[in-house]
Amino acid sequence: MTIKRLSFLFAAVLTVLVLTACSGSSSGQETAVEDSSGGDAVTDSSALSAVDFDHELDPYVPQKDHYSFYFTYKIVHPWWDAVALGMEEAQRQYLDRGIAVTYEYMAAEAASAADQEERLLAAEKGGYDVIGVDVADAEVISKALDQMVDAGYKVMTFSSSDALEGCSRIAYVGNTHNTQDGADLAEALCKKLGYKGKVAILVGSAGAPCHEDRAFGAETAIMAYGDMEIVAKEYDNDSVDTAYELTMQILKDNPDLDGIVCCNMSNPVGAARAVTETGSDVVIVGMDHDKEALHYLKNGVIYCLGVQDCFSIGFDTIQVAVKIADGNQPGELFPEKTDETTTIIYQEDAALMLELLYGDAS
């Protein structure tokens, strides 16, 4: 019996050993997996908070499964293309929830209140749930908007230019602090110049609320310092080429110019080109996130830029438009003015902002 038991034990141990030996080597190599988050540490920077690309729709449940909007803005320009990307993200998220949002997003090749008025009249016949306007000229367009509201159209304003105070448009999504933005840029310039010197102001389109407000804010800030002088104020009609030509002329007329305040997106690009070409050491402060302007900022030609969060403007515009389409009024669901941020960035923020907005390869 002892032998029999031993034989069984032997067989059992043998089996286990064979199986262990055979299976042991199959562990193989672990395939090697790298931590993708192990890139460069991102330092705290104004650039990081300037634009928020991480948005999610709020819990509001739309009443319909299809919405149709019409949006018109001042001018065909990359700034509004950035707003469009925010709109498309909101549209995509609504689609994920089974809600189709279709819209037209149209502008003229050159800023024109008349053209915008025509577009609005045409839109009235389009059967849209909401009509949104980035006001080209507050005086002209505000009246048109009042008439549309009176006629029963649901109208909102968006982007960087609201209608005049008292306009009956339902809500506004965008920059509500253009005057302050102009003042902040001017303050940065004055500080850089030691609160002493001659400056010029470049503005975009005459009558465009955002441009005018910024110019007003800048003028007010500069005038507060006795040793500061405004020697020129010109409008480029949102054209880089015009901004360049105007700057060349200003530099020619004012060889002792110390700084330029740029109130829109095309101003700083044109001004920087001229300053670079002439070899001037004029200090430029300006608005927005134009790629060329950011490169000038990176190279030190532009001193600082006020970057608006266009992506958030676009995203929030679609969200507010859906609520307005459902018959909601400003209140708990959305404010009468949805404020979006402007962040002033400097040379040290330029590379990160370029990477963030346009990628390294651009």
Binding site: I3, F10, G24, L85, Y103, A107, C310, Y358, G359
Partner: protein
């Protein structure tokens, strides 16, 4: 009942064990060999596939195929649109949606002659958004890279749509935009994570956001390699990128060489770069060696354990066999010893046994250890007569009958046959105590047998006295008495030697 282990069992066990061990060794060796071959093949395959230029070419070709496939699908889409009678904006959007879905086209859109872009959900003025729209007229297919606000990068493929009119508007182009991340996913799936690869723009910028090894990581390729290669090599790299040429670059990191190979991706102004580190091959070979070593260690341990178990079983079997053999020898010795002391005819003790007993008793008598001892001498009457007249068989029978008769009477004594017709009974203990009665009974039986011509035995006896120094002294007296008795029985008619 224990079953004895025979040599046959032992041999079978040994042979079976040996065969089993051999079988294990052979199978293990075959298995290990196959395993090594398979692993080595895998490694060789992996290393072969690290043939960088082929890898880069393969990846670049996949992108070109993707582009060509999308162009072909767009051609189909345009043909479809020509045949559709689209009457409204809603209908137009629905058709675009169907085309996107059916032809798997990513962000398919059409552009009219006013640069208005029509997608499934949106219509927008696209002059500033799409670079290819800056051209007045589109004559050829366009492949371009789009850098979106938010750092997203897309591949834009556009084709002219000659004579395409929808809702009374003339359309000049249609286009798709493919997220470069989707292209990367496609390449990564095929690559299965064996190499580092990346797509780069002419300025060295990383389009794919992939990490090209621990040195380059996801940086601009020019920036990342500026300090790790010679100035000439770096300028060569820049020149190759600018002129859409292929090439390779080798540099060291942490004492390990890294080699990257780049090839242009046709029509895109991109460069596909693939990189491998020596450490990857090193890790592969090291892994294989470790694996094989582990297998060998396990096999060695397995064989040792099997051998030990087998040896233990053999040892136990040897012990069992030796014990059985010893026992058998003891039995044989016992039988032999018994045969040496036994009378073969009658089964009682023989003269040899009597001599042993006499020797032992003499020692005890000498040492005064024994007090009660009687010697009875028995002699068969008429044995010669029977042998002479009836033959030896009858004589033998007479001896056996006489022996039986003596044994029946002296049940408590030791009976010895010390001669042909002579027996001696040694009585001690109870046999000694009952001696007189037993002898009287036997003598009466003998006397009765005379008339029936049956067994007649002459009996003489004597007991140990203080004067006796040896057993022969007692025996002599008993023998003398037996002769007296023989005479007496002759007088009664019993046969004698002379008869």
């Amino acid at each position: 009942m224990k079953k004895a282990i025979t040599w046959k069992t032992f041999v079978i066990t040994a042979v079976a064990g040996s065969i089993l061990i051999m079988l294990i060794l052979v199978l293990s060796t075959v298995w290990a060999s196959n395993r090594i071959i398979t692993t080595t093949d895998d490694a060789v395959s992996s290393v072969s596939s690290f043939y960088l230029e082929a890898m880069a070419d393969n990846n670049a070709e996949m992108i070109v195929n993707l582009i060509n496939s999308n162009f072909a699908q767009m051609d189909k889409a345009v043909e479809f649109l020509r045949e559709e009678g689209i009457g409204s904006q809603e209908e137009f959007r629905a058709v675009i949606g169907r085309i996107k879905s059916l032809l798997s086209l990513s962000r398919f859109a059409l552009v009219d002659e006013d640069n208005i872009v029509y997608t499934q959900y949106t219509t927008y003025t696209g002059g500033s958004r799409h670079e290819f729209l800056s051209e007045e007229k589109m004559e050829e297919r366009i492949v371009s890279t789009v850098y979106l606000y938010g750092s997203s990068k897309q591949l834009c493929l556009a084709i002219p749509t000659k004579d395409l009119t929808i809702m009374g508007k003339r359309f000049k182009a249609c286009f798709v935009q493919i997220d470069i991340k989707d292209i990367v996913d496609l390449l990564a799936f095929d690559d299965q994570g064996r190499t580092y690869f990346g797509l780069y723009a002419k300025n060295g910028g990383n389009l794919s956001d992939t990490e090209l090894g621990p040195v380059v990581e996801a940086q601009n390729l020019f920036d990342a390699t500026r300090d790790v290669v010679s100035a000439d090599a770096w300028e060569q790299l820049r020149g190759d990128f600018a002129n859409e040429r292929g090439g390779s670059l080798t540099f060291s990191s942490a004492d390990l060489a890294e080699t990257l190979c780049y090839v242009p991706v046709q029509n895109t102004e991109w460069e596909m770069a693939v990189l491998i580190r020596e450490s990857v091959i090193h890790d592969q070979i090291h892994g294989i060696s470790e694996d094989n070593l582990a297998i060998s260690r396990r096999l060695i341990v397995l064989v040792l354990v099997v051998m030990l178990l087998f040896a233990a079983i053999l040892l136990l079997q040897f012990r069992k066999i030796a014990r059985d053999k010893l026992e058998a020898e003891r039995e044989t010795s016992k039988v032999f010893r018994s045969m040496a002391n036994t009378d073969s005819m009658t089964g009682v003790r023989n003269k040899h046994a009597y001599s042993d007993a006499e020797q032992a008793l003499n020692r005890r008598i000498m040492e005064n250890e024994i007090r009660e001892l009687a010697v009875v001498v028995c002699d068969i009457n008429g044995l010669k007569h029977v042998n002479d007249t009836q033959g030896h068989a009858a004589g033998d029978k007479l001896i056996m009958d006489a022996s039986a008769m003596i044994c029946e009477c002296f049940t408590h004594g030791a009976v010895y046959r010390i001669g042909g017709d002579e027996f001696v009974v040694l009585l001690q203990g109870k046999g000694y105590d009952t001696m007189n009665g037993v002898i009287a009974d036997l003598n009466r039986q003998v006397e009765a047998n005379i008339s029936t011509d049956d067994v007649v035995i002459s009996i003489g006896y004597s007991v140990l006295t203080a004067e006796d120094e040896q057993l022969r002294d007692v025996f002599a007296r008993a023998d003398q008495m037996m002769y007296e008795r023989k005479k007496e029985l002759k007088g009664m008619g019993a046969k004698t030697r002379q008869d």
